[in-house]
């Protein structure tokens, strides 16, 4: 188990999140993908913290976790708003404004 291994795992999780982000149309599924990406970032924080012997990384991970949670809370509220406006939660439905 090396730092490189942990980072590669994080990169893989991040890329999977990106894949989901680009393919998913349901708002909640998009949020799931964003969570995967944020989780990958957290894994990096923790891994660096361990391998550098510095607790700051873990502190950063706590901050990042809280930020993501706050963001998800607002995001889910927006999903409900989207549902009220469009009767569905597909993010590509909201496309009145363009050009």
């Amino acid at each position: 188990m090396t730092l490189a291994g942990c980072l590669t795992l994080a990169a893989a999780l991040f890329s999977l999140g990106v894949y989901g982000l680009l393919t998913r149309r349901q708002a909640v599924a998009v949020l799931v993908s964003v969570e995967l990406m944020a989780n990958a970032a957290n894994l990096c924080f923790v891994a660096f913290s361990r391998f550098r012997g510095d607790v700051t990384g873990q502190a950063l991970a706590v901050f990042a976790l809280a930020l993501t949670v706050a963001e998800v809370a607002v995001g889910l509220a927006l999903v409900i708003l989207l549902y009220r406006a469009h009767g569905d939660t597909r993010v590509d439905l909201a496309s009145e404004m363009k050009q």
Binding site: V34, A38, A41, S49, L67, A70, L78, L82, A85
Partner: protein
């Protein structure tokens, strides 16, 4: 000096936020909307006034925050933007959503608190948290127009769309920023900005820095992270958009300056080309796509994308002069663009709608508004005696002296192209007939807000000296004094 004293300004705005919450909770809804609005105006004005008497400087919170001329200059800018946004929106918010007005002001204050912290952040953790504290309330504020269609009995989908687009791009960018932050702090073993460049950047650290650049680029609205900009501007309340179009962008550019010029300035060969590319793309795409717009808000949105491209030129100049000129540009942009949006808002509320066509004959209907719009548009176009002239000249000068001649030439050429769409606005206001449109009735607070913007645009335009000196001092405090 005590940490509390040094942190007085963010603390004051934070306390104001809590006070707003209390007042909102304790007073009955219909009255509270306007009351909290005026409380915000008074509180922010008082804080802004106090900045001229309270003289503190130095680090606080273990060096995570630093009060300095740079911090103060930005904080004043955010406070001024907050005052103007509050004045411009107090009637609108109270009329459109009396039950949600308290929350509106609370969220606006929370966002401003984030900005004031961001200005002083000299630590990446605080910087990112402050960035989010600024950003998350904006998602909500963008959705505030959700019931606008109710009175007319139509389902207005645009507010939800506006907020959703802001949110999706924003959440993506946050994830990207966090990943970049993890790589950068992990590789450099540092979170303090002045400790970032202790070691040369390894590829993974460079990658982290660029991911953070992308994340900040979203808030600044530079290409290709700009696509939410026009749609959100079109769907949200215009007084809020006036704020959204300037303050977070100024904060974003300030954050870029702090992280990249102060923190990673010595390693600029690693990130400068990317920044230059973003600047070029923004100037090109913004100026070109503004041309076909017929909605004043979308036109100003793309114009803003282009303007942020110019602002990045100042950042790309790397160094004290570049930072000073960036700050000057941001100050100019804040007042100019807010003013333009508020005039568009006043005209739209007067029955003209947000289309350029709604501005027709404005010179005849409302000479004062038209004259104000003229000044704002001329300032955006960079015509003399409006502050935008100096701003543009300044960033171009900084970039030219930093050896970015090619970028300056591209920028000037694209700005010349941009004249067309600014002229279109003027043509609508000055060279058409009013055909069936009445003079808009503008409330006193909105008038005052527009007047303040106008005073700043003309005042700093005619007499840029003090502002120039101030920004130079600020940049010096950020870059040279920090090196002590």
């Amino acid at each position: 000096m005590s940490d509390l004293l040094i942190l007085w300004l963010p603390l004051a705005v934070g306390a104001l936020t809590v006070l707003a919450l209390l007042v909102d909770a304790l007073s009955p809804p219909p009255a509270s909307g306007r009351a909290v609005g005026w409380l915000v105006v008074a509180g922010l004005t008082a804080t802004l006034g106090a900045t001229f008497f309270v003289d503190v400087a130095g680090p606080a919170a273990h060096g995570a925050y630093e009060a300095s001329a740079w911090t103060l200059a930005l904080q004043r800018l955010f406070l001024a933007a907050g005052v103007i946004a509050a004045l411009g929106g107090v009637d609108h918010v109270a009329a459109r959503a009396p039950k949600r007005a308290g929350e509106y002001w609370l969220l606006l204050l929370a966002s401003i608190t984030g900005m004031t912290l961001l200005a002083g952040a000299r630590d990446l953790i605080l910087l990112v948290v402050a960035f989010e504290l600024m950003g998350i309330p904006l998602y909500v504020l963008a959705a505030f127009a959700k019931t606008d269609g109710d009175r007319a009995g139509v389902r207005d989908r645009r507010p939800s769309e506006a907020a959703l687009k802001l949110y999706l791009v924003g959440a993506t960018s946050t994830a990207v920023t966090l990943f970049g932050l993890a790589l950068l702090t992990g590789m450099t073993c540092a979170t303090r900005l002045d400790a970032l460049t202790a070691t040369p950047l390894q590829p993974l650290a460079t990658l982290g820095a660029l991911l953070m650049l992308a994340g900040f680029g979203y808030k600044v609205g530079v290409v290709p992270f700009h696509m939410w900009v026009p749609d959100t501007y079109q769907g949200a309340w215009t007084p809020f958009v006036a704020f959204l179009s300037v303050a977070p962008k100024a904060a974003g550019v300030a954050a870029l300056t702090q992280v990249f010029v102060l923190g990673l300035g010595a390693q600029h060969d690693r990130w400068l080309p990317a920044l230059m590319m973003l600047a070029f793309l923004s100037m090109a795409v913004g100026n070109l796509l503004a041309l076909p717009q017929t909605d004043a808000r979308r036109l100003l949105a793309y114009s803003g994308v282009a303007q942020m491209g110019y602002a990045l030129l100042g950042v790309a100049a790397i160094g004290e002069q570049g930072a000073a000129m960036t700050l000057f540009f941001l100050t100019s942009y804040v007042f100019t663009n807010m003013g333009a949006f508020l005039v568009v808002h006043a005209v739209a509320e007067g029955g003209g709608g947000h289309d350029l066509d709604g501005l027709r004959g404005l010179a005849g209907r409302a000479p004062g508004l038209a004259a104000a719009l003229l000044c704002f548009i001329l300032s955006l176009a960079g015509i003399p005696f409006a502050v935008g002239f100096w701003a543009k000249l300044y960033v171009f000068l900084a970039a030219w002296q930093a050896g970015l001649g090619g970028l300056v030439i591209a920028g000037v050429a694209l700005a010349a192209l941009g004249i067309f769409y600014y002229l279109q606005v003027l043509r609508a206001a000055y060279m058409t007939d009013a055909r069936g449109l009445a003079a808009p009735v503008v409330g006193a607070p909105l008038k005052l807000a527009i007047g303040l913007c106008l005073a700043a645009v003309l005042g700093f335009g005619l007499w840029p000296g003090p502002l120039v000196e101030g920004t130079a001092r600020a940049a010096h405090a950020l870059l040279t004094a920090a090196a002590r």
